[in-house]
């Protein structure tokens, strides 16, 4: 079996975790929700690598769901959860 795939998976997981630590520090809520983007790309890549390393095709479906749901939680955040300062920011928007 290809030994490169598990090594790459570990490397990407390390990347993901370092980035997550950075993202968890903030400082703004927007920085925190970059985690959604991170899982949407790095998480998907890790799942793809795992799917090929263990030859389990079902993990590809999990990767598909990952990409979709990272997008949904990102959109939910931007549209619904974080609009507190909108009122006073509206006038200096343009």
């Amino acid at each position: 079996m290809n030994t490169l795939l598990p090594i790459l998976a570990v490397f990407l997981l390390g990347n993901l975790l370092v980035a997550l630590l950075r993202v968890a520090r903030g400082p703004t809520p927007a920085d925190r929700l970059l985690a959604a983007l991170l899982f949407g790309t790095t998480g998907v890549a890790i799942l793809l690598l795992l799917a090929f390393a263990t030859a389990s095709a079902a993990l590809l479906d999990a990767a598909l769901v990952f990409a979709l749901l990272a997008a949904i939680s990102g959109a939910a955040f931007a549209q619904r959860a974080w609009r507190e300062e909108q009122a006073e920011a509206a006038h200096d928007d343009d």
Partner: protein, 103 residues
Amino acid sequence: MTTTEIASFILLLTGAVFFFAGTVGLLRFPDVYTRLHALAKADNLGLGFIMLGLLLQAPSPATALKLVLIWLLALAASATVGFLIARRARQNGIVPWQSGDRR
């Protein structure tokens, strides 16, 4: 090692390099907008290369098509989410970092 395996190897490594660059950009860049640049571009390209590398090892054409679909979905998702986050950050009054500011 066949030529296909070598090509797959190189593509996968290139993908890993772009992911690494994306992470470094995320750590070094000063504000949320520049970090979005790093994530939206470098990570998507990294995923694209990983996808291409795995495409060469795909057991069936259907799996290959599914890989491409996953990549396109991830592209559309991160472009959209990136835009939504950037727009909301701007509406909520987060000022972009300027080259004179402290990091």
